[in-house]
Subunit: 239 residues, 2 copies
């Protein structure tokens, strides 16, 4: 019987620019072909130096206008720089489309809430390349997902999704395959990489400071890109 | 170290109206306090007799118009009966809001693709009540999620989400709690029940005819309703 096991990766140091995340993870856990390593976007971005200090940001007038009285216009400026399009706006809350085609709050820009800390963390420039880079340090046959927490239309709360993948096929395409009864053809594609990212969040989120988890028992393999999970705009009823 | 284990429930019989799903699951697997049982909506609905034969359905003119030449107007009629509102439409594809506040394709109405099989399966009338009913047959402290596969705006593929829950708190509310650094207050709610439903799908979907899975190692507890995961319309930027 297939059993899935999801284990947090403990013992990683605080991650900074230039750190080799793949080597750190490979040194912290036993990995075998078929395992999938899920790494939180925030540490991937930190390792890649995708961090800005708001002290260095000059907001354009539009950013000042959107920020109003409750938001930092320099933060909005960074969001506008990271966005290719504003999909929805309520006050200073911006749901944006990023250059990767991702639709998420603040174009994925994460801010520290710590007083006096003006650094913001941006999404990786190419999350698939990030995943592939991490994968080079891991044993053959191990897949990698770079995950981030996204809100969703219609539903409360965030779920983690896969913004970058390497060494796995992120969509399970059941279209045209027979179901258990043998004669019904299914019409579904399942976003397995998003479900794996969500499963990993369940063990990462409960233990503070845990930026990675291993999912074992999937036996997925294949290849694909995070962008396979992005609905093409012409087919998207909500964009 | 926390480890999550997700195991499919094998050996359940074909489910029909009146079957006691909770008793069947309790008889098929060992359960202990803290486990969460995820049950696919389709078998829950079948056990509750939420099945219609399209032969008994008379489509209204609007259903005939929406169906066009490519869809069965009787199927559209059932979708319209199950919907309180059409959120988006492309041809005969309807994204609807159900009476539960869920937004999903075809108002959650599932159709058999088998030739000559005109039965359709509707969502449970009250998925939280369904979860609570299943839970009465299970050991104390076991949580229940009724899951369904939903498409999402912006992203390809379905993920399983929790449409009904019993004995767990579906949202993990981190708002105002300190993070690992001890002084950053987080602003997130995490839709853990949706992530658990997705994790369960990973083992249910790969083995045809497996309608339930057990997730162990969560230690969540609490109480809540599936509707806790539904974004109130006044806060929803996409409805």
């Amino acid at each position: 019987m297939t059993e899935l096991r999801v284990t947090p990766v403990a013992g990683l140091p605080e991650i900074g620019a230039g750190d080799d995340l793949g080597a750190l993870i490979a040194g912290a856990v036993e990995l075998a072909a078929g395992d999938v390593v899920v790494v939180a976007q925030k540490v991937v971005s930190k390792a890649e130096g995708r961090v800005l200090d708001l002290a260095d940001v000059e907001p354009r007038p539009e950013a000042v206008e959107i920020a109003g009285t409750g938001e930092d216009p320099r933060f909005i400026e960074v969001v506008l720089q990271e966005a290719v399009r504003i999909v929805r706006r309520r006050g200073s809350l911006l749901v944006c489309e990023t250059r990767h085609g991702l639709v998420c709050a603040s174009a994925g820009v994460d801010r520290s809430n710590a007083p006096g800390d003006d650094r913001v963390v941006l999404l990786p420039l190419d999350p698939d390349a990030s995943a592939a880079r991490i994968r080079t340090a891991l044993p053959d046959g191990v897949g990698v997902i770079v995950s981030d927490s996204f809100g969703r239309p219609f539903r409360q709360g965030t779920t983690d999704v896969a913004i970058g993948v390497a060494g796995i096929r992120p969509l399970l395409d059941l279209r045209g395959t027979p179901d258990a009864s043998g004669y019904e053809l299914r019409s579904t594609q399942i976003a397995v990489a998003d479900e794996i990212a969500g499963a990993a969040q369940l063990v990462m989120g409960k233990l503070d400071g845990i930026p990675a988890a291993i999912v074992r028992g999937l036996r997925m393999g294949g290849n694909g890109r995070g962008s396979d999970l992005v609905m093409p705009r012409e087919r998207d009823l909500f964009r």
